[in-house]
Amino acid sequence: MVGNAEIRFGRNRESKQSDEFEGGLWFVRHFFEESSEEKPLPIWAPDTKRAARARALQGSQPQSLEEDVLRENTSWAAEEAQGNESLEHAFFSLDYQHVQVPFEITLWIMLASLAKIGFHLYNKLPSVVPESCLLVFVGLIMGGIIYGLNNKSPPVMDSDIFFLYLLPPIVLDAGYFMPSRPFFENIGTILLYAVVGTIWNVFGIGFSLYGICQVESFHLQDVSLLHNLLFGSLIAAVDPVAVLAVFEEIHVNEKLRILVFGESLLNDAVTVVLYKLFRSFCEMPAIKTVDVFAGVGKFFVVGIGGFLVGLTFGMIAAFTTRFTKNIRVIEPLFVFLYSYLCYLTAEMFHLSGIVAIIACAMGMKRYVEANISLKSHTTVKYFMKMWSSVSDTLIFIFLGVSTIGENHEWNWPYICFTVIFCLIWRALGVLVLTFFVNRFHINTVTSKDQFIIAYGGLRGAMCFSLVFLLPDFHRKQLFTAATTVVILFTVFVQGMTIHPLVDLLDVKKKRESAPTVGEQIHIRFLDHLLAGIEDISGHWGQYYWKDKLEYFNSNYLQKILLREYDQPKSSIVLLYEKLERKHAIELAEAGQLGHAPSHPSLLNSHRTVIADRKSEDILNPDVLKNIQEILARSLYRIRRTVPAYNRHTLPGETEPTEQAKEILILQHRSLWTEISESDTFSSRKESQKADSYSAQGDSSPKPKLCRSLTVENAEKAQELKHNRSKSVCVISPLQPSGTAWVNKKETEELTPDI
């Protein structure tokens, strides 16, 4: 107890010299930069002996550490007697400092999460106002409260916190759940937008702002070209956090989403290089062309280096999970540890951490998912979603908090022109680049898509942190103000209006009459057909490099990185196996294959009904509207190439999987119906024959169909089904005497499995 008190006391003392007790935000002060030098009295200090002592000490100016320590020790020793007495009598005591740091961190996270619950309670709210706006709003309120209470600027978010703690979970989540197929199909376009587009934006904004600075009435002459370019480099970067948050609400097609999203992730490399380049140029007395070339070379180093670091860590992670068979409980930990290490390593070498973590996640995903157990897999996914959600919320709240304050210089012309130029240059960049892209691709990027890409270029917390990393020079506050306004503008104005604008654009194209029922059905039919043909022709396999990679993968990587060759079965395959077992048991119990179809057979009976129907019924517009609604609701969607990325739910819980399961069940039923009909037919024909093998011969196409419908390439599962179904098909048409045998055989074969 004594030792503890001393240690605690010592810690409080040290920290008191660098920071202050200030309201309830001691944590905030400790981690965040101070923006002014005042040291007010704490508003809330719990009434303990130690706090009282702290308050007393606060007024004094400690001359040196030793004097203070001596003084403290003596006074503490003197008080100890008293202290001991009071402690003996107190049953409850409040000791806030002990838990202050974790307590406040948790409180902030709790606030963020409660805010999130609050938004989703009102169903209409997230569709009108995107979540990010609401969170910034909450942050603004909090900032206002803190400002009002303390009468000084609230703490500004420390860039280290953002880059080291808040950003990695979000990027990891994005990289892990990134649908790799559309990503790689569009990688050329994405890279073009990310690299060339960002450079275009940076120089465009930088130069035009420099032009504005030349205008004398704005009093901005002292902002040099280099400063403007530096500012341009940090404001041009599209922010993945903000983009993700807003694109959740609007439903655009996969390709578009992956374009904007991929671009926002990959432009980190360019941003990092340009920012560091211009910053070092600012500090250098003279700039030579060699330096410029060094900058260009640096870009390649940063991008490719980050990618390689990521891949290395991904492979190591995959390799590690190969051996975790006996300690399944900590498997998820490896995923997170390796990803975070990868990010930190890349940052250590000044490479692009975001590119690294994405490469790591995408590289290790396949092998890790094959190696770890199903439960660990779910855990990994859930934790990732959770952490990224928390990070995301915290970022927006802190953004709001940091906006209020006195560290801004509000030079309105500069700020307005910044906003305008951001919009203009982005639009121009997208237009020009899309023009080039469309010449090489069949699937063009339509003008609606272009609008969304241009308008969806949101800036967010990344710009904010970069601005605070700037070296202190006399115009820094101008830049912070401009950055703040741009971010708030993009988040609020663009975030809120993008949904209505998208709908407006859609409406404009839908002026044609609604398709008739027949057309609707037929269009969907053709879509399914095309999707099927695409899958058969191996549309994905059309790239030479992808084929090569697959070859490399199957021959080398899988052998090293995968534990065994058992592929984990998806839920659909498990479902199918369960269905098969159930059916086999039912058949065994019923003793025959005359399984009544669960929905009425469509092959008969309705033929005569048509002639009697009156056409007036069908022309009824109410009936028609009803039909349209039914169709719109119930027609199966075309298979998506991969499940869509969603912030709030895991892939696999969403509609497409349910749809797939339904389709499988339906096909399964119709299969058994066919089998039962053909088999009863054949058994009627051949009931005289005792030879079971001829029955097998006749129904042989059916077992092959039974064998079908595996979803993964699980050869074992396939063979198992084949054996089971074939045996069932063969045995059942036998005479009743065979059924006893069937019963015994099936049940003993099946009970161990179940």
């Binding site: 099927g532 191996g538 039914i630 499988l664």
Partner: protein
């Protein structure tokens, strides 16, 4: 990999396929490597199980029908020529083909042939008419279990009524073409 596949496909075969289907040389070789990767039994033909092994096809509502379309009447195996012939229907129509060779046989990927292919997927009994039952079957495959039979019946009736012009309560190929317009 790629080279191994093309040595099994002789050049004159590639030429024949090219003439028949209109695919380019590189497309044919790529499709051949796809064919061989699907052909697990390595006997130069594909059976129905080989198709059913494609995961996405299993959860396509029309999966079985599409697979059946590849197999000629009554057969269980399809060779590479047949595979290509079916796939040729889906080649995009290129502008430069329209002016060529008006006298020759219609190319496989003409609009009319594409529509014929789709029509054959509906019309199981091959009587050149889509009857109400066939339509019901397709609808049932496409909408699943959420719709009752009566509703489905009325949808089918509505469809036939919209498209049917000669009053036989079935959709013939000509009416089918007009439906898609």
């Amino acid at each position: 990999m790629g080279s191994r596949a093309s040595t099994l496909l002789r050049d004159e075969e590639i030429e024949e396929i090219k003439k028949e289907t209109g695919f380019s040389h590189s497309q044919i070789t790529r499709l051949y490597s796809r064919f061989t990767s699907l052909d697990k039994g390595e006997n130069g033909t594909l059976s129905r199980e080989d198709f059913q092994r494609i995961p996405e096809l299993a959860i396509n509502p029309l999966g079985d029908r599409i697979i059946n379309a590849f197999f000629p009447e009554g057969e269980d195996q399809v060779n590479f020529r047949g595979f290509m012939r079916t796939l040729a229907h889906f080649r995009p129509i290129e502008d430069n083909e329209k002016s060529k060779d008006q006298n020759g046989p219609e190319p496989l990927n003409s609009r009319s042939n594409k529509l014929h292919f789709a029509f054959r997927l509906y019309d199981l009994d091959k009587d050149d008419k889509i009857s109400r039952d066939e339509l019901l079957q397709v609808l049932r495959m496409m909408v699943g279990v959420n719709i009752s039979d009566e509703q489905l019946g009325s949808i089918a009736d509505r469809t036939i009524q919209e498209a049917d012009q000669d009053g036989d309560s079935a959709i013939s190929f000509a009416e089918f073409v007009k439906l898609r317009c």
